[in-house]
C-alpha cells in the first residue's frame, strides 16, 4: 500500500515538472512581444517596458525559470496584473466553490452512471435499450445548457431562487448542500452517461467471463455472483477511465458555474484570459494540474486496491 502510493508519487513528479515547464513557457509562446499583446496596440513604450519588467521578460530565460520554480515551490506564483493580489491567494479563494461543484458532479455521475450501467447490463431488452438511448442523449447534452434549463425551470418558472445560491460549506452545511443540488445534477449528467456506458460494457464483459460460469457451476447464487464478482471486476476498467471523466468534469465546471453564479475558478480564469492576466492563468493552470494529479493519484491507489495485478511485488 505505502509502496503503491510511493510508486505513483514518483511517477507523478516528472509529470508535474513537465506541466510546470509548459506553464512557465506560456508567456514565451505569445507571438510578438507579450507585453505589447497584453497592453494592446496603443501601448506606450514605457508601459511595455514596465510590463516586461513585471513579467521579468528583461531577464535571461534560464534565470527566470530558476526563480519561477523556486518561487512556485514556495507557493509564490506571482501577483495578478488585474487585482495586484498574490495569485496563490486569488486562486485558493476560488478553490472551495470549484471543488464543491466537481465533488457534487462526480457523486452524481458515479451514482447514476454505475446504477444505470448495471441495470442495462443485467436487464437486456427494453430496459437496456431505454438506458442506451438516455445515455446517448446524455452524452450529447452540453452540461451548461442542461444547467440553464434547470435554472429556467426552478429559479425562473418555479421561483425557487434560493436553491441556486452558493453558500460556503463552512458557513452553512445545509445551505451548501441545497445550493449544490442543481449544479451537481447539471454537471454530473454528461459524465454520468459516460460512466453508464463504460459500466454497461464492462459489466456485460464481466458477466460473460468464464469465472462467472465457474461460480455458477459451483452453485453460487446468481445475485451474489452479479453483485460481488461481476461488479467488482467491472469496476476495474471503469475506475481506470475515471481520470478522464474527472478532467472533463473540471473543465465543464468552469462553464456550469457561470450559470449558477458560483464563485469558482472558471470566472477568474475567464476574466484573466480576456484581460491577459498571465500570472493568474499560469497559476491557475499549475494549481489545477496539481489538483488533477492529486486526484489521479487517489484513483490510481484505489485502482491498485481493486486490481491486485498492478500492485507492486
Amino acid at each position: 500500500m505505502k509502496k503503491l502510493i510511493a510508486y505513483r508519487l514518483v511517477l507523478a513528479l516528472p509529470q508535474l515538472a513537465l506541466v510546470s515547464l509548459l506553464v512557465f513557457s506560456l508567456t514565451y509562446l505569445i507571438p510578438g512581444s507579450p507585453a505589447a499583446a497584453i497592453l494592446g496596440v496603443r501601448a506606450t513604450p514605457e508601459a511595455i517596458a514596465q510590463v516586461e519588467e513585471r513579467l521579468g521578460l528583461d531577464q535571461p530565460a534560464l534565470q527566470r525559470l530558476g526563480e519561477w520554480f523556486a518561487n512556485a515551490l514556495g507557493g509564490d506564483l506571482g501577483v495578478s496584473f488585474a487585482s495586484s493580489l498574490p495569485v496563490t491567494d486569488v486562486i485558493l479563494d476560488r478553490m472551495p466553490a470549484t471543488l464543491s461543484l466537481v465533488l457534487g458532479g462526480i457523486v452524481v455521475a458515479l451514482v447514476f452512471g454505475v446504477a444505470m450501467g448495471v441495470l442495462a447490463a443485467t436487464r437486456p431488452g427494453a430496459t437496456d435499450r431505454a438506458i442506451a438511448g438516455a445515455t446517448s442523449v446524455g452524452l450529447a447534452v452540453p452540461e451548461f445548457w442542461f444547467g440553464l434549463v434547470l435554472s429556467l425551470l426552478f429559479a425562473v418558472q418555479l421561483g425557487w431562487a434560493p436553491i441556486v445560491a452558493y453558500t460556503p460549506f463552512t458557513e452553512d452545511p445545509a445551505g451548501w448542500l441545497q445550493g449544490m443540488i442543481l449544479p451537481s445534477l447539471s454537471l454530473g449528467i454528461g459524465a454520468g452517461a459516460l460512466i453508464a456506458r463504460q459500466t454497461r460494457a464492462a459489466m456485460t464483459e464481466a458477466l460473460a467471463a468464464p469465472y462467472i460460469d465457474t461460480l455458477t457451476a459451483a452453485g453460487v447464487p446468481h445475485r451474489r455472483i452479479v453483485l460481488r464478482y461481476a461488479l467488482k471486476n467491472a469496476m476495474v476498467p471503469v475506475l481506470a477511465s475515471t481520470g478522464l471523466t474527472l478532467r472533463i468534469l473540471i473543465g465543464s465546471s468552469f462553464v456550469v458555474e457561470q450559470i449558477f453564479a458560483f464563485p469558482g475558478l472558471g470566472h477568474l480564469l475567464l476574466t484573466s484570459v480576456i484581460g491577459k492576466d498571465f500570472p493568474v492563468i499560469q497559476g491557475g493552470v499549475l494549481l489545477i494540474a496539481c489538483l488533477v494529479i492529486a486526484m489521479n493519484l487517489l484513483i490510481d491507489v484505489s485502482y491498485g486496491l481493486l486490481n491486485p495485478k498492478v500492485r507492486p511485488q
Binding site: Y7, P312, Q313
Partner: protein, 358 residues
C-alpha cells in the same frame, strides 16, 4: 530426402537477455532467456527444438529471424555472421531464412486479401512485375494445396488450416533455404495437423530446404525431425538423432518429458502412472533463478547428486554423437545405464488401428 553433414546454420553460445520488469518494479534486471546455446542445422535437415513454455525455444527462432536482440554468441548462416550485422538485414538473408508462426489468426494481416501475403515480400525482393507476382502467388498457393479462388479471400474467410497453408506459401514463395517453424501446427486440430505436417515434409523433399521446427509437442517432433534438441530453462540439455532421443533419452529432463507425454495407447498406463508417482519429486523446492550456478533441473531431478547443486553441467558430446548437459554423463558423475524409463506401451506399432484399405 538426403541430409548432408555440412552446416547451413551454426549457432554458437547464443545468449539472449531481456529486461524483466512488471509494470511496477523499481528496478529492471536482465534475465537470460537463452544461455549459451549451440547447435547446427544441416542442409535438408529438420531440427526439432522442443521445450516447455518459458524454456526459450521460441526466442532462439526469433533471434535467428532477427526479431530478438542477441546479447552474446554467434549465428552463422552459410558463412554470414548474422549477429555481426547492423540494424539492417541484407535482403539475401531475408530471402534465405523464412518463418511460419503459430497463430493462424494473427499471422496474416486481417485487412489484406491473402494473396498480398505472398506478393508483398516478392515486390520487396524485386521479383517480376505485378502480374508475375500474382502468378507466383497462385503457383505458391497451388503448391500448398490451395486454389486460385482462395487468393482474394480475407484471412477471416479461411479456416485455421487454410491460413497456415497461406503462411507456408508466403514463406515458400521466396525460395528460402531455412524455414523457422514456430509452433507451426500446434494450434491446429489433429486431422489438419497431419495434413500440414505432410505438406511440410513434401516441400522439404522437393526443395531440399531445412526446417528449425520449434514446438512444445514431442509427438509432432518425433514424426517430422531428423534430430531433436531439448531446451530447459534457457539451456540446451540434450541433442540427439530422433530415434536415439525417443528410444534412449539421456537427460533426466528429457526422460521426464517423455514420461509425461501421453502415450498413443492405453496399454501399460497404470504402470506409467505409478512410475510417474514414484518419479515425481516430493518437494518442488525453491524456484531456481536463471543464471545461478548449478543444474537448473536439480530440484525436479530424481537422479540429483551433490555436484548438481554447485556446478552447471556443460553440454558434452558422447561417444555415439549424442550431446547431453548432465553430470550423470561427465567426468565428475557416473555414466549410468537405465534409470527411470518411460513405459513400454508407446512407440513402435502400438497396436493402433489404421484406415487401411479394409
Amino acid at each position: 530426402m538426403s541430409v548432408s553433414q555440412e552446416r547451413l546454420l551454426s549457432v554458437r553460445d547464443l545468449t539472449v537477455t531481456y529486461e524483466s520488469g512488471r509494470a511496477m518494479q523499481w528496478r529492471r534486471s536482465p534475465v537470460k532467456a537463452i544461455d549459451g546455446v549451440s547447435f547446427d542445422v544441416r542442409p535438408g535437415e529438420t531440427l526439432g527444438l522442443v521445450g516447455e513454455s518459458g524454456s526459450g525455444k521460441s526466442t532462439i527462432g526469433r533471434s535467428i529471424l532477427r526479431l530478438a536482440d542477441v546479447s552474446g554468441g554467434t549465428i552463422d548462416f552459410d558463412g554470414l555472421d548474422v549477429t555481426a550485422l547492423g540494424r539492417r538485414t541484407p535482403l539475401s538473408y531475408r530471402r534465405a531464412v523464412q518463418a511460419v508462426f503459430q497463430d493462424p489468426a494473427s499471422s496474416l494481416n486481417p485487412r489484406h486479401v491473402v494473396s498480398t501475403a505472398v506478393t508483398t515480400p516478392l515486390r520487396r525482393h524485386g521479383v517480376g512485375d505485378a502480374a508475375a507476382r500474382e502468378e507466383a502467388a497462385a503457383a505458391a498457393f497451388e503448391r500448398v494445396g490451395l486454389s486460385r479462388a482462395h487468393l482474394s479471400r480475407l484471412p477471416s474467410e479461411l479456416s485455421g488450416g487454410q491460413r497456415q497453408r497461406v503462411a507456408i506459401a508466403r514463406a515458400l514463395a521466396l525460395e528460402p533455404r531455412l524455414i523457422v517453424c514456430d509452433e507451426a501446427v500446434s494450434a491446429l486440430d489433429v486431422s489438419t495437423q497431419s495434413q500440414i505436417i505432410n505438406l511440410l515434409a513434401d516441400l522439404q523433399e522437393s526443395t531440399g530446404m531445412s526446417y528449425l521446427f520449434v514446438t512444445h509437442d514431442l509427438r509432432i517432433v518425433r514424426h517430422i525431425s531428423h534430430r531433436v534438441a531439448v531446451m530447459h530453462a534457457g539451456r540446451l540439455v540434450e541433442l540427439a538423432p530422433v530415434e536415439q532421443l525417443f528410444d534412449s533419452p539421456r537427460h533426466p529432463y528429457t526422460r521426464s518429458l517423455l514420461a509425461a507425454s501421453p502415450a498413443t495407447h492405453p496399454t501399460g498406463r497404470e504402470r506409467r502412472r505409478s512410475h510417474r508417482a514414484n518419479y515425481r519429486p516430493n518437494h518442488h523446492g525453491p524456484e531456481i533463478v536463471r543464471g545461478e550456478e548449478g543444474c537448473p533441473f536439480r530440484n525436479r531431478c530424481a537422479s540429483v547428486m551433490e555436484v548438481c547443486r554447485t556446478k552447471t553441467p556443460p553440454l558434452r558430446e558422447l561417444a555415439d554423437g549424442g550431446r547431453v548437459a548432465c553430470h550423470l554423463y561427465g567426468e565428475e558423475g557416473r555414466t549410468v545405464e537405465g534409470g527411470p524409463h518411460r513405459g513400454k506401451g508407446r512407440g513402435k506399432g502400438g497396436g493402433r488401428g489404421s484406415t487401411g484399405e479394409g
